[in-house]
Amino acid sequence: MKFTKLMTSVAVAAGLFTGPAAAEDMRIALVVKALGIGFFEAAAEGAEEAAKELGGVEIIYTGPTDTTAEGQIEVINSLIAQRVDAIAVSANDTDALVPTLKKAMQRGITVISWDSGVAEAGRQAHLNPSSNALIGNMIIKLAADHLPDGGEVAVLSATTTSTNQNIWIDEMNKVMGNYPGIEVVSTVYGDDLADKSYREATGLMQSHPELDAIIAPTSVGIVAAAQAVADAGKIGQVNVTGLGLPSEMAGAIESGASKSFAIWNPIDLGYSATMLAHQLATEAATAEPGAEISIGRMGAITLDETNSAAMADPFVYDASNIDAFKSIF
């Protein structure tokens, strides 16, 4: 697949170019941090899916060779020159892209950011993969789903000062009332170090023999906790869940140390970014605070006062879909 793509590009470069695609097509450029990253290749797949669903849309999947703002600016300049209809960018730098993207908007191009945002002045809307409240709810729901009769859970976080994790745990605590019978017995910190997280997880199982689940809202902690559970011979007894990467968690899902975990789905993200860009470029929707915009099969999003929106709940990965995603990211 990659090789064919490369060969096509070489062919194009060699002068076998046949002219731009049908001019009536709407061209949406998906600009990523760098080419050759599994996460973004998957997002491009989602974008193609959206294009097929919409019809008459051509996706230009592009980005620099390495994750630099200068590289992205060169790419965006060439997109402006081609007068594409919309640019959806996952930015390498919040601020450095602003002057170039402003120029794009002045020339009538719809600009949105997704995944990694651009400062407000440089885009019309921003699409976050999820929101803090949705993540906080998801991590406790993942544990509760496998504990119909309630039980003891513990949290293995990153550091005491990790902003993201602290917000998510706060949000989780807010919705604890919705999960009766579930009790958080302890919160420990593995500092996002594999060995410390492993020791903390082991310690949790020793001090709470009745422990039913460990929630690790960090990709380092969740892997270490799964390993600790497997090594303690407690697979089936203690369920490890939280936020992790499919490539790193495939083993834990296979062994049963983790029944399920969550993280954003890059395919959905690419799909939604394309849908949002299309909605704004066709003027079917306007980017303004409070606007509700439909993003196809992903439902609808609502823009907040900074014109940002959250796409959806984090996507749940378990034995049924892990194989498809573990090679992606």
Binding site: L6, S9, F17, P20, G71, E74, V75, S78, A81, P99
Partner: protein, 333 residues
């Protein structure tokens, strides 16, 4: 440089006089490549022949070319500076600090240029005073300068540059001619005269061909080299002003990897990487070739990886062709 004898002595600016015609051939070859790339682009993309698009395209090379001119002279003198991109990072960071202390645009520019100059002086002192090889020194300072930026900024950024500061990187002198492009043209003329029409330029060639011989001819080799490092530092500071102004922000990763693109531009321009020969017009054409190739391929949405392959092939091709030509002619004669 008050050595009267250097004014009358003829110091050849090429390795061997017989190579003269050859090198003229190089520049014509490059020019032919530039024209070919231009024509190809014009046919391949309907968006290429547009004044504003071409103007945007110049930003792909103007900042790099500013440094490439000074780098060309440094390489002709047999030295190299691989820390230039890191000097940009440090200059930009120091400008950011000055901006936070409330400095206005003129002060910011002065701070950026001075930081570049000091970095160049540091490199130059290590090479000329301590006699260290420049490639080792500048690989060291490459990490050092950028490291300092990382310490100052961490994962943060300086953003609130004054509006008037944007003039350097985003402003236009007239119509589609950007301020950066004007600076590029002025510097091309300046360095062209400096290298090809002054005693200083002659000395640079002499040092590159035979540093010991140059020393015994009364050329203060270390002083000339020090001045070249100063100029490279100063040009890096200038590029930092332009790039920071264009991005409107500073992050420690700014301009990362740019040093190799600059060296590529210099070598593509026909400067002998071992020192002793080359010309500024060659570098000017090479800047255009690289800018046109990356922009043209960008218009066709060719991925950057393929673009790097293309630049690599171009570099090897342009360097190998004259050699192959020479071998072929020897055989047929």
């Amino acid at each position: 440089m008050s050595h009267a004898d250097t004014q009358t002595r003829h110091v050849p600016d090429r390795l061997r006089p017989s190579l003269y015609a050859h090198l003229v051939g190089w520049e014509s070859l490059l020019l032919a490549v530039a024209v070919a790339v231009f024509v190809f682009n014009a046919f391949a993309s309907p968006y290429f022949l547009d004044a504003w698009n071409l103007s945007d395209a110049t930003f792909n090379f103007t900042e790099k070319a500013m440094i490439a001119f000074a780098m060309a002279m440094l390489i002709i003198a047999g030295e190299i500076d691989l820390s230039v991109a890191s000097i940009i990072a440090l200059s930009s960071t120091v400008m950011g600090l000055a901006m936070q202390m409330g400095a206005g645009t003129p002060v910011l520019v002065l701070v950026g240029l001075t930081t570049g100059l000091l970095c160049g002086a540091f490199n130059g002192a290590l090479v000329t005073r301590l006699g260290l090889p420049s490639i080792v020194v500048t690989i060291g300072t490459m990490s050092l300068f950028r490291g300092v930026s990382y310490i100052i900024l961490g994962d943060g950024a300086f953003t609130r540059y004054p509006a008037s500061f944007a003039w350097f990187g985003q402003g236009y002198a007239f119509w589609v001619i950007s301020v950066e492009f004007v600076i590029f043209v002025l510097l091309a003329i300046f360095f062209g005269i400096l290298l090809h029409k002054t005693n200083f330029g002659r000395m640079v060639y002499a040092i590159g061909n035979n540093a010991t011989g140059a020393l015994f001819s009364g050329i203060r080799v270390d002083r000339v080299k020090f001045v070249l490092f100063l100029m490279t530092g100063l040009m890096s500071g200038l590029a930092a002003v332009c790039l920071t102004s264009r991005l409107g922000s500073t992050r420690p990763s700014i301009a990362s990897g740019m040093e190799l693109e600059i060296v590529t531009m210099v070598v593509l321009g026909g400067i002998n990487i071992l020192g002793g020969s080359g010309s500024i017009p060659g570098v000017v054409i090479a800047a255009f070739v690289m800018g046109l190739v990356t922009f043209g391929l960008g218009l066709l949405n060719v991925p950057g990886i393929v673009m790097s392959i293309f630049i690599g092939l171009l570099l090897i091709g342009v360097i190998a062709l004259p050699r192959l030509w020479a071998i072929w002619r020897k055989r047929t004669v």
